[in-house]
């Protein structure tokens, strides 16, 4: 402790209490670094052992004081042995932490201004809330794109809430297919009580885990490989191969559910976690069993308060019932799950940025190689998977990889969730066996409302699709052949009334805001792209089109991570498809 230097600012009693209890919940007791201990294992080692408490501590401080006060930060740093300059660097990285006194003591309304909400009147909603005397913060996609305009209220002193959760707690309008007996991934959604373990077990819950124990870790991995399951988080990496690679490394190993879900247009994981949280916990336990993991982590975005509460309750109930903890369900397998909240940073969904964030560092991605399977969370072999990917494990383990592989197409096995939003009859989450075309998925969602102008496929990191391209099959291979990407399963439709130029400019702004800033091509490129589009209103001269192309190539080639690689993709697709010729300015034409 004595190694650290602090300014004279002191924490209030309330701040101290809030921080200490948040840390205690993680098993980090008050600073007791005694002198001889410091001599034995002082400095960096000690600092990094407790550092993972930084994000939870910052959340506690933000909630109690409405901002990250210098005194509160000093106290947190003293407890963790983290230098204040570094902790400030971390706090100032996240949207949900204010590092300046907001000058009021109210809650803050975060209003989504991303594409689905932009075209549904986000600015009008901002004006309304401001007129009603609320403090408003314009937010990137809040993962509620099926029910625009999305709002999230960051509490002061109390819990964060999504107002609509209070009136429609299960998001009933969000799952138009619900009660359809053919559903598999969404079979329990709306049918069970997501707060009751009994209800989950009554619907067949935890049978898959029992079967996994019978099959053994290698047997489970064999089934996953046989199933052909590939990742649903965007990169489509074969899940079994990943788990096998981690299992082959020396322990301790970790499994992580990547529930940071922040790709604009994506809300599937939220709906699953809110309505079927035990399934995510059981599936993560199976992944942990297969990988021989010591522990599982769920990293969930900070703007998902209901999903966080439901998952936490599920983890707690599973532990009480013996489905987590020492020797689970009388097997020889011990495993527990810890939930960590993000704090408003799209980049923290990138798997290596997620590690940095969880470990208490700035959410900056790491250069690969080395890959997470060898150097992941806390430097240990780690399998990171999307919640939707994990959900598939239940069926694979229950019915066998062969039966699973029989569903879907050659290179896209099983079922897929699609997040359909924008100008369609019934926006919401849809489950289909892989195979339908984009047109069929749009029809499933009630068809296009009005005359179709374009579809954004795969999210902000995806591409636009023209109305004459709707026959593309929404499979990994089908989209790849068409030069597109499924991404996280986003299908966002825009009718002729939408100002696509405004949409394209917002996408560029999203990347500008969300770049972590670590590498030059993305930190500067994302800004220059946005500036160019704003200045020209997307009407580019031939030299400007060359410039856009130059920036895109450098960002694709030389950036560290996928954010920079894809930051121009959607924008460029809008130009190459000729979608921007007849647009005017404004939210709607």
């Amino acid at each position: 402790m004595a190694d650290l230097h602090f300014t004279a600012d002191r924490a209030t009693a309330a701040e101290q209490a809030a921080i200490d209890s948040a840390l205690l919940a993680l098993g980090i007791d008050a600073a007791t670094i005694v002198e001889d201990e410091r001599v034995v294992r002082g400095g960096v080692g000690r600092r990094n052992e407790r550092r993972h408490g930084l994000l939870p501590g910052l959340h506690a401080l933000q909630r109690v004081s409405g901002w990250i006060t210098p005194g509160g930060l000093n106290h947190l740093c003293a407890q963790l042995g983290v230098p204040p300059a570094e902790a400030y660097g971390v706090a100032s990285f996240y949207d949900l932490f204010r590092t300046e006194d907001p000058g009021h003591t109210d809650s803050v309304h975060h209003v989504c201004i991303d594409v689905a909400c932009q075209i549904a009147g986000a600015e009008e909603r901002v004006a309304e809330l401001e007129a009603a005397g609320h403090h408003v913060h314009r937010s990137p996609c809040l993962g509620q794109c099926e029910r625009p305009v999305a709002v999230f209220v960051q509490g002061r002193g109390g819990e964060d809430v999504v107002p609509i959760d209070e009136t429609e707690p299960t998001g009933s309008g969000s799952i138009p297919q619900r009660y359809d007996p053919t559903l598999v991934l969404l079979a329990r959604v709306g049918r069970i009580d997501p707060t009751s373990l009994d209800s989950y077990v009554g619907a067949g819950g935890y049978k898959a885990l029992a079967q996994a124990f019978t099959r053994g870790p290698a047997g489970v991995i064999d089934e996953i490989i046989a199933s052909g399951l590939s990742g649903r988080g965007g990169a489509a990496f074969p899940t079994g191969v990943k788990l096998r690679a981690v299992a082959a490394e020396p322990g301790p190993r970790y499994v992580v559910a990547n529930a940071d879900e922040s790709e604009p247009g994506t809300f599937k994981d939220r709906i699953v976690m809110e309505n079927d949280p035990f399934a995510v916990v059981e599936a993560l336990t199976i992944a942990g069993f297969a990988a021989g993991a010591a522990k599982g982590w769920i990293y969930i975005r900070g703007e998902y308060p209901l999903a966080t509460r439901r998952l936490q309750a599920a983890v707690d109930a599973a532990r009480v019932a013996g489905f987590l903890g020492e020797r689970i369900a009388r097997s020889s397998f011990s495993f527990d799950v810890e939930i960590r909240r993000g704090a408003g940073a799209y980049i923290c969904g990138e798997e290596t940025a997620l590690f940095s964030s969880l470990e208490g560092f700035r959410g900056e991605p790491r250069q690969k190689p080395p890959f997470p399977t060898t150097h992941g969370l806390f430097g240990r072999p780690t399998a990171v998977n999307n919640p939707e990917t994990l959900l598939n494990l239940l069926e694979i383990v229950s019915r066998g990889g062969g039966a699973y592989a029989a569903i879907g197409t050659e290179a896209s096995r099983g079922r897929k969730l699609f997040c359909v939003s924008g100008d369609v009859g019934a926006p919401g989450l849809y489950e289909v066996p892989f195979g339908p075309t984009l047109r069929e998925v749009l029809d499933l969602a009630g068809g296009v409302d009005g005359q179709l102008q374009a579809v954004l496929l795969g999210g902000a990191a995806g591409s636009f699709v023209r109305p004459d391209q709707l026959d593309v099959p929404l499979t990994f291979e089908g989209t790849r052949e068409a030069g597109l990407s499924l991404g996280s399963g986003v299908v966002m439709a825009f009718n002729q009334a939408v100002d696509l130029a405004g949409v394209v400019i917002r996408i560029a702004e999203f990347f500008r805001d969300e770049s972590c800033g670590q590498c030059v091509p993305c930190r500067v490129g994302a800004v220059r792209q946005h500036e160019l589009l704003v200045r020209t209103g997307t009407r580019l001269t031939p030299p400007e089109l060359v410039l856009l192309d130059d920036m895109d190539r450098a960002m694709k080639d030389a950036s560290i991570c996928g954010l920079g690689h894809t930051a121009c993709t959607a924008v460029r697709s809008a130009f190459s498809l000729g979608l921007l010729e007849s647009s005017a300015n404004g939210g709607r034409k």
Partner: protein, 275 residues
């Protein structure tokens, strides 16, 4: 240490395992621009000016951190490499004052970087920070190479007075809440100044001379000596102009210092010269 055989620009070369592509290029006399890399710091691979093409790899790779592998085919002058290096230099030039960044001008010319292609680009837009009389921070010149942070932290000083704060284009090198250096943990070792590649961190002596138009590197001599304060034996390089010490450095490859000093060796030389 096993030998690795691979190729650079079609030439077969050998290197030891664990060596970086950059290290191998240096051995082979293949010049490579670098900005965030230094021999006495852990590679952070953030500036991306050193990227090379590895045949078969989807993206370019940073040569400063990527280690050589058997059979790797490295291209250092392909169209993709030239393009990305050019764009990195152009992007930097469009937002940062690179006038004192050593060597970058040559590379910018070689690759044809044209920062003027950007209309009214957002800049760093920072005030010069003069908070003491030892060194000056002018973040208009900062390329966010992380070198100062590393030197202040794990790679040398372990003081952790400065870190990267903010996100994206708003990221800046900062103390906690941007408090002035004298109120921060800074111990004025000047190791951050020693590694800064752009002149964003600068001895006050140098800064004042430059302001007055009197900074004349061609007239300066460099004298190597041993610091007289304690028995560690740090080597100092005294940069002298007009018979006055104007700054002090230490060789990055020196076995005692690795280029890093403490406040006494770095700044405590006024007693040598009459004021």
């Amino acid at each position: 240490m096993t030998d690795i055989t691979f190729s650079i620009d079609g030439r077969t070369v050998t290197a030891t395992s664990g060596q970086t592509i950059l290290g191998a290029c240096n051995n082979e006399g293949v010049e490579t621009p670098t900005l965030c890399w230094a021999p006495n710091l852990t590679p952070v691979n953030v500036c991306r000016v050193c990227v090379v093409e590895v045949v078969g790899s989807r993206t370019l790779v940073p040569s400063c951190s990527r280690t050589v592998e058997e059979g790797m085919e490295v291209l250092t002058d392909s169209e993709r490499v030239r393009h990305s290096r050019k764009m990195v230099l152009e992007f930097l030039g469009s937002g940062v004052d690179l006038s004192q960044a050593d060597g970058l001008q040559v590379w910018s010319e070689r690759y044809g970087a044209d920062p003027d292609r950007y209309v009214e680009p957002q800049k760093m837009d920072e005030e010069v920070k003069i908070q003491d009389n030892l060194y000056v921070r002018d973040y208009d010149k900062c390329v966010l190479c992380y070198k100062c942070v590393e030197a202040c932290g794990d790679d040398a000083q372990h003081t952790f007075a400065i870190a990267v704060a903010g996100r994206g284009f708003g990221a800046r090198i900062s103390t906690e809440f941007d408090v002035a250096l004298p109120e921060s943990a800074c111990v004025y070792c000047g190791n951050c100044v020693g590694v800064c590649p752009t002149g964003a961190l600068q001895f006050t002596t140098e800064f004042n001379l430059r302001q007055a138009g009197n900074w004349l590197p061609e007239t300066q001599s460099v004298t190597r000596t041993v610091c007289s304060y304690c028995g560690v034996g740090c080597n100092l390089e005294l940069h002298v102009q007009d018979e006055k010490i104007v700054k002090v450095t230490s060789p990055a490859d020196h076995s005692v210092t690795s280029g890093h000093l403490c406040i006494k060796g770095r700044f405590g030389w006024n007693y040598v010269q009459p004021s």
